[in-house]
């Protein structure tokens, strides 16, 4: 493990990616402390409210900064706008979306919501869905892949066929169709459809690894010593097949973020009015030719780009670190290496072990 970390840390690019991912994760976790229309601590009319930005106090319903009396004290987050605060019409100056100005450092969207606040809270949506979908997808893929590789036989045939069928559909199209037949899309359904369509990549990689591990002397030794198949599977095959799953998980976060934002952009991902980078871009798209809406398109796009490339960099770095010689463990390029020896057989996707392009 130490060795892997050293190889990983030896490249500055990897550390940069890791730093960026951590920064975004912090942003996602502490979004309410960075941008909220409620204070972090409030002393009002003789009562002390702790973190009203997180806790919904009944007596504070409908509270705004204007209600603050002269004797009240409040500790505000750096940005005093929540992602969902729509200002009352009477306070609006000029047409929406507003350009960057004193109140709104990055302007507003066409409902008057603060762009910066929505960007910060968007990190939570995108990273949350990305990580959850990748985790679920890898869990499914890991279990099915190990079972298929280790047990072989009909289990292998069924899993491999199912994976192949799933890989036969262009991702976005399948996701769109799946979300489209639902009565309404939610964050959970977005996560679920991504995980349910993406596990095939992982299962394929893990299966290949389990096939390799199965032939290892230590597996034979374990069987010879009288361990049951289940014990051998859990104690020897599974832990040794983990590295491709780990890489697939990291790269999966990147592709899940791309897919979530693409779906949200089309209106079939995060439901309105969630602060999602994809939805923000959709709002910008509505008035793409209005110069005031430009930031609404540019910034979420940059945020997506940064997040996705951070996870892709980590994934690739992890792959190289886990498998320095580029043989066995994690296929360098599942596609090219196998192409040489591969007789006519069902084919893996090119992006098998690389980041998935967004087309």
């Amino acid at each position: 493990m130490r060795e892997v970390w050293h190889r990983f840390a030896a490249r500055r690019r990897n550390l940069l990616g890791l730093g960026l991912a951590l920064l975004l994760a912090l942003l996602a976790v502490f979004a309410d402390f960075l941008a909220s229309d409620r204070p972090i601590v409030l002393w009002r009319a003789g009562t002390l409210y702790l973190i009203p930005n997180l806790v919904d106090y009944r007596s504070l319903r409908g509270f705004t900064a204007r209600d603050l009396g002269p004797a009240d004290r409040a500790l505000w987050p750096p940005l005093r706008h929540g992602p969902y605060t729509i200002p009352p019409l009477s306070t609006l100056q000029g047409p929406l979306p507003q350009p960057p100005g004193a109140g709104h450092p990055l302007g507003t969207d066409n409902a008057g919501r603060d762009t910066l606040a929505r960007l910060i809270h968007g990190a939570r949506t995108s990273l949350g869905i990305g990580v959850a979908a990748a985790a679920a997808q890898v869990l499914i893929g890991l279990v099915l892949g190990v079972l298929a590789g280790y047990l072989g036989g009909w289990v292998d045939r069924v899993v491999s066929r199912a994976a192949e069928v799933l890989l036969s559909f262009p991702l976005l199209l399948l996701l769109l169709a799946a979300q489209g037949i639902l009565e309404r899309t939610t964050l959970l359904s977005t996560m679920a459809v991504i995980a349910l369509t993406r596990w095939a990549d992982t299962s394929r990689l893990v299966r290949a690894e389990a096939l390799r591990v199965r032939e290892m002397p230590y597996v034979e030794a374990s069987r010879a010593l009288g361990s049951s198949r289940l014990r051998t599977l859990l104690v020897h095959v599974l832990p040794n097949s983990l590295s491709p799953a780990l890489v697939a998980a990291t790269l999966g976060v990147g592709s899940a973020i791309l897919l979530e934002t693409a779906l949200s952009f089309l209106g079939f991902g995060a439901p309105e009015p969630t602060a999602s980078w994809g939805l923000l871009m959709a709002h910008g798209f509505q008035d793409a030719l209005d110069p005031n809406a430009r930031l609404l398109v540019i910034l979420p796009g940059l945020a997506i780009f940064l997040a996705v490339s951070a996870f892709n960099v980590i994934g690739e770095g992890l792959r190289d670190a886990l498998d320095p010689r580029g043989q066995g463990a994690v296929e360098r390029s599942a596609f090219i290496t196998s192409a040489q020896n591969r007789a006519l057989s069902p084919m893996p996707r090119p992006g098998g072990c690389g980041p998935t392009p967004a087309v």
Binding site: L166, L173, F265, N312, M347, P357
Partner: protein, 321 residues
Amino acid sequence: MTSPLRQRLLGTIPTFLGITFVAFALVRAAPGHALAFEADGGLRQGAATVAQWNEYRRRMGLEDPLLTGYARWLTRVVRGDLGDSFRDGRPVSVLLGEALPITLLLSLPALLLGYLLAIPMGLLSAARPGGVLDRLLSSGAFLLYSLPVQWVALMLVVTASGGGLPIQGLRTEGVRTASDLFAHLLLPVACLTYGSLAVLLRHLRSSLMEQMGQDYIRTARAKGLSEAAVLLKHALPNSLLSMITLFGLTFPALASGAVIVERIFGLPGMGKLTFDAVLGRDMPVLMGTVLVAGLMTMLGLLVSDLLYAAADPRISSRSRP
């Protein structure tokens, strides 16, 4: 012993059944009750749609038990009957036939351009691995992977709207010249190209690098060939072989229509058809596009495998282990 070719062809049968089953399951699972349609925003008359929906379900075997329904549905689909669109009552096959050429008009040039750009770039990369140019190109391709396509498309729209390039549709009203069509295709094709370029470049580079480590390259160098000749005459042909297979893999994704690109640029291809079908809950059309996309991928893989076998005599003469 069966020949690998026959085995490969037989292998597509379960995949075909799987793909069609997914499409079938998708429509079957779709909520058909009136509520789903009345909640539709009153765009269409709810009752008529529900009648259409019930008629469609009965006709396509969606009411029958799962397996008999599937069998009945499959026989209809194989005969080319995909049902009629709920929206305008036209047969789904006709709608697909109209959308497919437009998507091909976008994706074929994009794929071709991808190859044309990737090959010289890959060669430059492999000529001096680790050099400045290689690092620049590799990280460039890597970054392209992470770019959200909706962002690229919107940025192009924003920049182009200032430069006088058309950003909507296929043609200017009333103009039917080739140059007008070309101008309309420029931006969407550019959007589609960058994605395939990233995939192709990465794979060509790693394939070239792998070839350059092989024994026959050492032999070629030993007999005094220049580095350029080694790369072009020995490594490249072998790498191109593996690029053939990529064709089959990249093409279907493009042919199924880039939903986002077609939506942003307002092009009536497969992607837009799918999107509109999802939006209007036009189940027959949605089922049709999903089916076509899946089958295109299956055929793409098959064709590229066959091409690969044709190009590499080792495979056609050897059976699968």
